[in-house]
């Protein structure tokens, strides 16, 4: 039987290729994920290990009973000791400032940083900086830099002192020892100790120290000796302890990544699982077609004595062999991709220290191979069952065109319908909980459960309803001519095959559309929320105060410069003042309504503000009501204003500058609000504004809501990009499935194509027919996927973001159009190779009876 299976596989090698490729991609995904997870764990470990330099042993203690470094240094076999410690200091040069981690100098062997220029600091007036920090501060070796640090006074109060050491060296962090903190500056060890002592008011306890064992000294003997010195153990279970550097690094890495690497794995493997499900559909399709095409051979086998089990087993063995070969290829591909990614990263000089090669653990090899083989065999179970049902008699019947149409039981349609209905109800409930019930967690949970359930229902039931949709689409395109009608009829010949192929694509496209829609809705909703919270793009507020503690005005020339910055479209002066009202004080904000409307992101916030009115934010409305008279008393007069309640939850009371002037004649315009052009890069523009302020020498604070929003957009974009990239694998596999289905169909329709050619189908028409078939299969999957994805995305956004206020459901048109285009184009491309096969055979050859 095995011999027959192998012979059949050889004959069907071409037909199995696409299924194999699907599995190769799927398993490569899994393998690459496992490898990446390994690399991340290794990077964490390496960077932790790097902090200890070339230390052999690490000694640790608690703060209550700290280490005595001198005692450690004089222990037998110890060559060098350095405390493992770091602190922070504010490094400033002119307007530029960096909050930087600082470490003490140490023995060369215990110092992971390398000097690239100059040298290490040797006294209290010297400092070495990471190269990129020096660049950011724009200082070079020989320049000075302001170092601000906290000192605790005798009375226990904090005070910031500033020193101005000279930069004596630039540092590189080749092993990424301080990559978590963005590098580290170095000061002389005794200076460091002084800083720490001054910051605490007493000497800082040393809780961890790295030790180098002297040449010739025995490691374990030294370890025991150190344990003796500290009176502790040789494991970290109890404190104090002494362990090897490797043990310590492994332990810290495990602590640091605890849960995180698992999260990463679960996150990415979810997408790998989706890809594998799609690959499974492609495989199931392939085997279904193969079994149908081999019906005669199988029947013949039954005729000559093979029993049902043998025939079924033959299909499963074939799947097993295919799965095994493809999975091994997948692991190789995944490994190669991982290694290539590392090379590219190295070539691009990414700032994080990456290992040179990927580490092949047994998991990386065994898990994908096992999963890939199981998925393949699992996908072949149903086709194998179909194979067992081939009657021996089928061998005697004339070759009929193979068809896999088969009555599905009653259970499946009912169950899938039930799942879809209950799922969508849950989904709707989740959205309602999120928006109306203001229960985002519950809503999201219900939404996810409902979404998953309904999607399973939709996908499992696809074989019942998808062909009907395809038929409708087919009728639509069929109206355009005979070629399209032929294509439409072909698509419907094997409803199950078409359904499986479209479903594979549907899964990927639905998820892509859902993510884009969710992200777009989230972006719009969150932007609206941000607009509410931060009404303007950029605020520049004076931070210098006059003798009375009142803020100074923004100087006119600075204001002019600000307005001239690229991308600034409008500006409004803002006066702030506190005046008396009956029973307390009220903070007033005066803006010119015309200017302000040009600057505010939602100008309607100022509706109702005119001379003689006060626009009162709901947070400070107290028991004021619309139309109430608000009597305010300032140094220059008493003014009565009519209250207009604002619907925004703000704590400002807006008045016109004229009204404020009657209360207080000289309130400085201490703030300027700026509006940015929508098209400019907000981060750049805010940077430029900050530069203008810094260069002016005025002390003013720039708050760039616009850059915050841009950053926030960027976070969404990045997340979306990653998710879409991961989902793309599933979509690619599904598109391979479309090509696979087409080429399998073309192979079994050889005679038919030849007949059509003989009765006058032109080459172009044959190509067109297959192209339309490809478009139909891909288009139906893609269009339905987009629709489903929109529904899921909206429901998800409603459930999750409902608490933030009105959820704006937006359609990510660009993404939707892109997905549809890609799918249709792929459907078109998928028809190219099959068309070539179909055209290669001359009509006569194909008409010859087999």
């Amino acid at each position: 039987m095995l011999r027959i299976t192998l012979a059949q596989m050889r004959r069907s090698a071409g037909r199995l290729t696409a299924a194999g490729v699907a599995i190769v991609i799927g398993t490569a995904f899994v393998a690459a994920t496992l490898l990446a997870s390994g690399v991340i764990t290794r990077m964490t470990y390496d960077s932790i290990a790097a902090q200890y330099g070339d230390a052999d042993l690490v000694v640790g203690a608690s703060e209550d009973a700290p280490l005595d470094v001198d005692a450690l240094a004089t222990t037998d076999g110890v060559a060098a000791v350095a405390p493992v410690t770091s602190t922070y200091a504010q490094l400033t040069d002119g307007a530029r400032s960096v909050y930087q981690s600082v470490v003490p100098t140490a023995d060369d062997r215990l110092m992971p940083l390398e000097v690239t220029e100059g040298g290490m600091p040797a006294g209290p007036d010297e400092i070495a900086l990471p190269t990129d920090v020096a660049e950011r501060l724009d200082v070079a070796v020989g320049d000075t830099v302001d170092v601000g640090r906290d000192v605790v006074g005798d009375d226990g109060s904090w005070q910031q002192v500033t020193e101005t050491p000279t930069v004596v060296g630039l540092l590189d962090d080749p092993f990424g020892a301080y990559s978590q903190t963005g590098g580290a500056a170095v000061v002389d060890a005794s200076t460091y100790t002084t800083w720490q002592t001054e910051a605490r008011g007493e000497p800082a306890p040393v809780t961890e120290a790295a030790v180098v064992v002297a040449d010739g000294a025995d490691l374990s003997a030294t370890r025991s000796a150190l344990a003796g010195t500290i009176g502790g153990a040789t494991s970290t279970d109890s404190s104090p302890w002494v362990v090897t550097t490797d043990e310590r690094a492994a332990e810290s890495a495990a602590e640091l990544t605890d849960g995180q690497d698992l999260m990463f794995l679960v996150f990415v493997l979810t997408f790998a699982a989706i890809a594998l499900v799609v690959a499974g559909l492609v495989i199931a399709n392939t085997f279904q077609v193969l079994v149908a095409q081999r019906a005669r051979t199988l029947a013949l086998l039954r005729c000559v004595g093979a029993d049902k089990a043998q025939v079924g087993r033959g299909v499963l063995v074939e799947a097993g062999i295919l799965g095994l070969i493809a999975s091994v290829a997948g692991v190789l591909l995944g490994t190669a991709l991982g290694q290539a990614a590392l090379w590219v990263a190295h070539a691009m000089d990414v700032p994080v220290p990456l290992p040179d090669t990927v580490t092949l653990t047994w998991q990386v090899v065994v898990i994908p191979v096992l999963v890939g083989t199981l998925v393949t065999v699992g996908a072949a179970v149903v086709p194998a069952r179909v194979a067992t049902r081939v009657a021996p008699l089928a061998a005697l019947r004339p070759a009929a065109s193979p068809s896999t149409s088969r009555r599905a039981g009653k259970v499946r349609p009912v169950l899938s319908l039930l799942a879809a209905v209950v799922g969508f109800a849950l989904l709707g409930g989740g959205a309602a909980l999120g928006t109306l019930g203001q229960e985002p967690t519950l809503g999201l949970l219900a939404g996810i459960a409902g979404g998953a359930l309904s999607f399973v229902g939709v996908a499992v039931g696809a074989v019942f309803w998808l062909p009907k949709v395809a038929a409708a689409a087919g009728r639509l395109v069929g109206a355009s001519g005979p070629t399209a009608r032929l294509a439409a009829a072909n698509t419907l010949r094997n409803p199950r095959r078409t359904a499986t192929t479209s479903t594979a694509l549907l899964i990927g496209v639905t998820l892509v559309a859902m993510m884009s829609t969710g992200a777009a809705s989230a972006r719009v909703s969150l932007t609206a929320a941000l607009d509410e919270q931060f009404p303007v793009d950029v605020m520049v507020a004076s931070t210098s105060w006059d003798a009375d503690g009142a803020p100074a005005a923004i100087p006119a020339d600075l204001r002019a410069e600000l307005v001239a910055v690229d991308g600034v479209t409008a500006a409004v002066d803002v006066q702030d003042s506190v005046v008396a009202e009956p029973g307390g004080q009220r903070r007033l904000t005066a803006v010119d309504t015309g200017d302000a409307r040009a600057v505010l992101n939602s100008p309607q916030r100022l509706d109702g503000l005119t001379e003689g009115t006060a626009l009162v934010g709901s947070d400070v409305a107290g028991n004021l009501d619309d139309g109430d008279s608000l009597e305010l008393t300032g140094p220059d007069g008493v003014v009565s204003l009519a209250v207009v309640l604002s619907d925004s939850a703000s704590s400002s009371t807006f008045v016109t500058p004229a009204d404020l002037a009657r209360l207080d004649a000289d309130v400085p315009a201490s703030e300027v609000y700026l509006a940015l052009d929508d098209d400019v890069d907000a981060v750049d523009a805010v940077g430029a504004i900050q530069d203008v302020v810094a260069d002016s020498g005025e002390s003013a604070q720039v708050t760039g809501i616009a850059s915050q929003r841009a950053m926030f957009d960027q976070v969404i974009d990045t997340m979306l990009g990653i998710v879409l990239g991961l989902l793309a694998v599933a979509v690619v596999i599904a598109l391979i499935g479309v090509a696979n289905t087409l080429s399998l169909s073309v192979l079994e329709r050889r005679r038919e194509s030849a007949t059509l050619r003989a009765i006058g189908l032109s080459r172009a028409q044959l190509r067109g027919m297959l192209a339309v078939e490809g478009l139909l299969i891909a288009g139906v999957g893609a269009v339905l996927g987009v629709v489903l994805g929109l529904v899921y995305g909206w429901a998800g956004a409603a459930a999750a973001l409902g608490v933030m206020g009105d959820v704006t459901l937006s359609v990510p048109w660009r993404d939707v159009v892109l997905v549809l285009l890609v799918a249709l184009l792929a459907g078109l491309v998928a028809s190219v190779a099959p068309a070539r096969t179909a055209l290669k055979a001359s009509p006569v050859e194909a008409l010859a009876t087999e």
Binding site: P398, A400, S401, G481, P482, T483, R485, L486, A489, N490, L492, R493, R751, E752, T755, L756, R757, A758, I759, G760, L761, S762, R763, Q765, S842, P843, V844, L847, T849
Partner: protein, 278 residues
């Protein structure tokens, strides 16, 4: 319907005496498969004429080149050398586009295996060639065909719901729908029982006698060949003789003569009741 309708105007001889011009001609038509040791001369310099408005049968032993000849005449396959004419068109000189147009408009096919499209109804199968050509179906002609072939009650059935004889009649209607100059039929009764075979053969004959078509049919069955106006005998890729107004007995005798000679010298087949090919 007269076949002259389909003779192109550039046909010099066609205008003079349409019925005298053969609908199909082969001149030194040769088809060689393989090369070297494995070389097979499927057709070896065939010269033959098929008259318009006549029903001709081609007979000969298995492997003698009958199907090959039909395929070359119909432009389904390319000749190694020689020429095949449909009317005045040299089929062997046409490119794929022109051949496709020729197959659409000027020739019809009936296959031994029926080769109907399983997803279409009988009616859709019949009208397909016209639709592929982008034309509109001549309803009167369609009705004539359907009535003549006795398919009126079967038009909405799919091939799987039709008997073999009915399927072959649908195939014949499909071959005739575009009113082609010539219908080629390769063993059209090969897969049918004798009753269904008789049905198909009488329809082919009626389409010649009553509808004015030209039919060329390959068959192994002397009784089937007797339905034709003329039988062309072929052996070893050469024309081995012909029988006019054949009876089953005459055809059997001709075939026997072919077999007994087993062609040591092809020319000798000219004697004994048969006349050397045109």
């Amino acid at each position: 319907m007269d076949t002259t309708v389909f003779v192109p105007v550039d046909d010099a001889t066609g205008a003079a005496a349409p019925d005298a011009t053969p609908a199909v001609r082969a001149r030194a038509l040769t088809k060689t498969y393989g090369r070297g040791q494995a070389q097979v001369h499927a057709l070896d310099g065939v010269d033959v004429d098929f008259d318009a408005g006549r029903f001709t049968a081609i007979m000969g032993p298995s492997g003698s080149g009958k199907s090959t000849l039909m395929h070359l005449l119909a432009g389904l396959d390319s000749a190694t050398s020689g020429q095949a004419f449909l009317g005045s068109t040299d089929v062997t000189a046409l490119g794929d586009k022109a051949l496709t147009r020729l197959r659409r408009d000027r020739v019809g096919f009936v296959f031994q295996q029926f080769n109907l499209l399983p997803m279409f109804t009988a009616e859709q199968n019949i009208t397909l060639p016209v639709e592929l050509a982008g034309g509109s179906v001549d309803r009167a002609w369609f009705d004539t065909l359907v009535t003549t072939l006795g398919l009126s009650q079967r038009l909405t059935h799919r091939p799987s719901e039709l008997s073999g004889g009915q399927q072959q009649r649908v195939a014949i209607a499909r071959a005739l729908i575009a009113q082609p100059e010539v219908v080629f039929a390769d063993e059209p009764t090969g897969n049918l029982d004798s009753r269904a075979g008789v049905e198909v053969l009488s329809f082919l004959r009626r389409s010649v006698r009553e509808l004015g078509r030209t039919v060329i049919m390959v068959t192994h069955d002397p009784t089937a060949a007797a339905y034709a106006d003329r039988v062309v005998l072929i052996a070893d890729g050469r024309i081995a003789g012909e029988i006019s107004d054949p009876t089953p007995e005459a055809v059997l005798a001709g075939l026997d003569a072919l077999r007994s000679l087993e062609a040591p010298v092809a020319g000798t087949a000219a004697d004994g009741g048969t006349r050397a090919g045109a």
